[in-house]
């Protein structure tokens, strides 16, 4: 097999911080090559160097035998390298066809030929086995279709190298299968595909070779068949996987939820979700399990007063509380880590310290400013305790990797010392090592008496962490499982029950 893209000793420094320290990689024609590594290992930076968003400060690249040093994304594209970024980077206000053809529209003098453009867009989508109305605005399409449009854009440019940065994090199982079928077909046509994912199953199902990065350096490249999963994880985190602290916490816990301090009674938001009825015990973990769209996030938003309930009651310590706004919910001892950390959670331009103290400051009110030294101490404490990888407490939040941002969010809510912490998809888009750390952290918090409401699309995570599981179906409560009754099998049966 011939080598398409060759990277030799790539280095990238941001100021004094070395994001990449001599990474080498070889992408062959007709292979799917997985790029693995923990958050902050340098995967995204490496991709941005290949695509010309960043310029390498050392090392060399070759694309199809010719030196490759792009200064702009355009140059990488014309060299035959197309990229589908983690957050779909397309234009929601324009049509599917325009998104595919943008910048390469067929022209007639100074004017675009829209009919020809739509025909070519349809042809590119047809190669992916899709037949859609390409005049539809992209923003109105499902994320999966948007991703397909991004790939179709790559196909229309006759790309020879396709880079996919976490393409599956927002797709459901069927959509993932469709995407993989497309990728395999493209590989068989001789394309070189570089694939970044956090899902080990997917990596093993799809890729031919794996390159592992750790702390900005290349650990090595292996054929998939020669790299057992445990070894891969070991290479990624550089140490054996953290002990299953979560599981032991679950077994230790013997509380009775029915008599818990936090009681939800027939809570409902008309037309959205409900009714719900369950209790949460101090130190307990309640999981919300159900399919995507089953009402998990809706319930969380109801409890935290973002979209308040229209009927039903919530009692804390037997006293009825009205959760009509996030402020009221915080006063009642609730804290909420949102699912969409990019939009609703972090403030990227503020520093790590400021992000961590945000909720605490808000609960104190604007007049009682937290003293500077206390802020610094708090930030330092959480950076240590949660093992947040940052250059320092004053680094802007936006420069941290996804997992580390998530840890900062956790820190923010831990700082206010809530009684019930709602975690909506706390482990989405973060890697195995960080996942384990966050689960262990939750277990520790529970030992200190904090109750957790845990929402996750990954059922085994729910089973592993929770002593009570509320199963949701069609935006209603289908069942409450407790203690020994909790198993993957039972949850799935309840979800699937007619």
């Amino acid at each position: 097999m011939s080598c398409l893209l060759q990277l030799r000793g790539i280095e990238k420094r941001f100021g004094s911080f070395a994001a990449l320290r001599g990474v080498s990689l070889e992408l062959r024609a007709g292979e799917i090559h997985a790029l693995m590594g923990e958050n902050g290992a340098g995967k995204s930076t490496l991709i941005k160097v290949i695509t010309g968003v960043h310029q390498a400060t050392g090392g060399s690249m070759e694309m199809a035998g010719r030196a490759h040093r792009p200064r702009r994304p355009q140059q990488a594209e014309s060299a035959g390298i197309s990229t589908v970024y983690q957050e779909v980077n397309l234009l929601p206000n324009l049509s599917i066809a325009e998104n595919i053809m943008m910048g390469r529209q067929p022209m007639w003098g100074p004017f675009i030929r829209p009919v020809e453009g739509r025909r070519r867009a349809r042809a590119a989508l047809a190669r992916l086995g899709l037949e859609v109305d390409v005049a539809r605005p992209l923003g109105a399409c499902a994320v999966a279709l948007q991703q397909m449009a991004a790939i179709a854009r790559a196909l229309d440019q006759e790309a020879r190298v396709l880079i996919l940065d976490e393409p599956t994090s927002s797709l459901d199982a069927r959509e993932v299968a469709e995407l993989f079928a497309v990728l395999r077909r493209l590989r068989d046509q001789g394309m070189g595909i570089l694939f970044v994912s956090h899902f080990l199953d997917q990596v093993y199902a799809l890729s031919d070779r794996i390159t592992v990065l750790r702390d900005g350096g290349g650990v090595g490249t292996w054929d998939v068949a020669e790299l057992p999963r445990l070894d891969l994880v070991g290479h990624m985190i550089g140490k054996p996987v953290a002990a299953r602290a979560a599981e032991s916490a679950r077994n230790e816990f013997r509380g009775r939820a029915a008599a818990g301090f936090f009681q939800v009674e027939q809570l409902e938001r008309r037309g959205v979700a409900g009714p719900f009825a369950f209790g949460v015990e101090a130190g307990g973990a309640t999981g919300l399990a159900g399919l995507l769209g089953s009402g998990r996030s809706e319930l969380a938003r109801m409890l935290f007063g973002i979209d308040p309930a229209t009927s039903g009651k919530v009692r804390v310590d037997g006293r009825e509380v009205a959760l009509h706004s996030p402020r009221a919910a915080m006063a009642a001892g609730l804290a909420f880590c949102s699912e969409d950390r990019k939009v609703e959670g972090i403030v990227p331009s503020l520093s790590v310290r400021e992000n961590i103290i945000l909720a605490l400051q808000a609960s104190r009110g604007p007049l009682r400013r937290l003293p500077e030294c206390e802020q610094a101490a708090l930030a330092e404490k959480f950076i240590q305790a949660l093992n947040i990888k940052t250059r320092g407490p004053e680094t802007p939040m936006g420069t941290l990797s996804g997992g580390n941002q998530q840890k900062c969010l956790l820190a923010r809510w831990m700082a206010v010392q809530p009684r019930l912490l709602i975690l909506d998809e706390p482990t989405r888009g973060i890697d195995i090592g960080a996942k384990g750390e966050i689960e262990a952290l939750c277990a520790e918090l529970r030992r200190a008496g904090l109750a957790i409401l845990f929402i996750s699309g990954e059922l085994d995570e729910v089973v592993r962490n929770c002593n009570q599981v509320v199963v949701l179906r069609d935006r209603r409560q289908a069942a409450v499982l407790e203690g020994g009754a909790i198993s993957l099998q039972r949850i799935m049966e309840t979800v699937a029950a007619a």
Binding site: T51, L90, P92, N93, E98, I112
Partner: protein, 322 residues
């Protein structure tokens, strides 16, 4: 599909409907309202606002704003008057130089916005003061333009019979509208403007020329303001440093009433055209109703603007829920 399309075009339909209702209502209420002369005057009086509002629409669609257009227009009228009357330049050359001034002023603002990542609101606010000051420096008071060529082009136009002529102002307005539609929807530059307003980072990652396009958009808007100034000197026979005060807000209002979303990425040139006509029709109605307080002009414009903003929000919410 048809429902989706109709919801996307809804603001445009709403604008057209409002214009129709206003016009029909006024025609029913006032004698002589429904006449070619009224329509013609509507176009004549609103021609320079129209040209400026079209430039503004490009800027807003690209995700920016240009507060300097009123001042740039005033400065252009005084510059033109000075070049022709004070320095004796030939009229066509003076007009070309004035257009060039507008484009350069706008382009410079665009360059500052792009190069230093400063909000357009601030840069063009500075531009608003700068250009107004420049206008007063060129001439502290109104300058009459007495020139054979000027009286000539002022009188010319397409004869429509009945003693009516489609004069230069309206002709240029309609021509600029046609060009704006062609550029916005039919060229790579136009589509890149929409892309820029949709998501700048996505546009950059798609390899589109983000910086060049942004500077060009502001240059275009500045040239539009200068062209508006030229048209106003032809219509009024003078250059005046106080002209066009607050015009930037009328231009923004016309664009928004026409369905352009202030956060960028969405808008129609035709909508802005309709928005300009709506503002003009309200003014005409007030002229007909001699006894009415002119304050109603502002109140009606404000009410309409609010109504259209709420409509846009409603559509956005509905689109999210689908």
């Amino acid at each position: 599909m048809s429902r989706l399309l109709s919801s996307r075009l809804l603001p445009l339909f709403a604008t057209a409907l409002v214009l129709l209702v206003l016009f029909a209502g006024a025609g029913w209420h006032y004698e002589h309202f429904f006449s070619a002369r009224v329509v013609l005057n509507l176009f004549k009086d609103r021609a320079f606002l129209g040209v400026i509002a079209l430039g503004m629409t490009f800027v807003i669609v690209s995700g920016g704003i240009d507060l300097s257009v009123g001042s740039v227009m005033a400065c252009s009228t005084v510059l033109l008057a000075t070049l022709i009357m004070g320095m004796g330049w030939p009229v066509p050359l003076a007009m070309l130089v004035t257009l060039g001034f507008g484009a350069a002023f706008g382009g410079a603002q665009g360059w500052i916005i792009q190069a230093y990542r400063i909000p357009a609101f601030l840069v063009t606010l500075a531009g608003l003061f700068l250009a107004r000051g420049l206008a007063f420096m060129l001439s502290p008071r109104s300058l009459e333009i007495r020139h054979a060529v000027y009286t000539d082009i002022g009188a010319r136009g397409l004869p429509l019979g009945d003693g009516l002529t489609f004069t230069l102002g309206p002709i240029v307005f309609v021509a600029v509208l046609a060009a704006a539609i062609a550029v916005a929807h039919g060229t790579r530059f136009g589509r890149t403007v929409y892309a820029l307003g949709g998501s700048e980072s996505s546009a950059a990652l798609m390899g589109l020329p983000v910086g060049r396009t942004r500077i060009a958009v502001y240059a275009l808007c500045g040239a539009g303001a200068a062209l508006g100034g030229i048209l106003s000197t032809v219509a009024l026979g003078s250059g005046d440093p106080t002209r066009g005060t607050g015009l930037e807000l009328d231009a923004i209002a016309a664009a928004v009433i026409g369905g352009t979303v202030l956060s960028g990425g969405r808008g129609w040139m035709v909508g802005t055209f309709l928005g300009v006509l709506i503002l003009g029709t309200i003014k005409t109605i007030l002229d007909f109703e001699g006894s009415l307080d002119p304050a109603w002009l502002r109140i009606a414009s404000g009410g309409l603007l609010l109504g259209f903003i709420l409509l846009q929000k409603l559509i956005a919410i509905r689109a999210r829920d689908i």
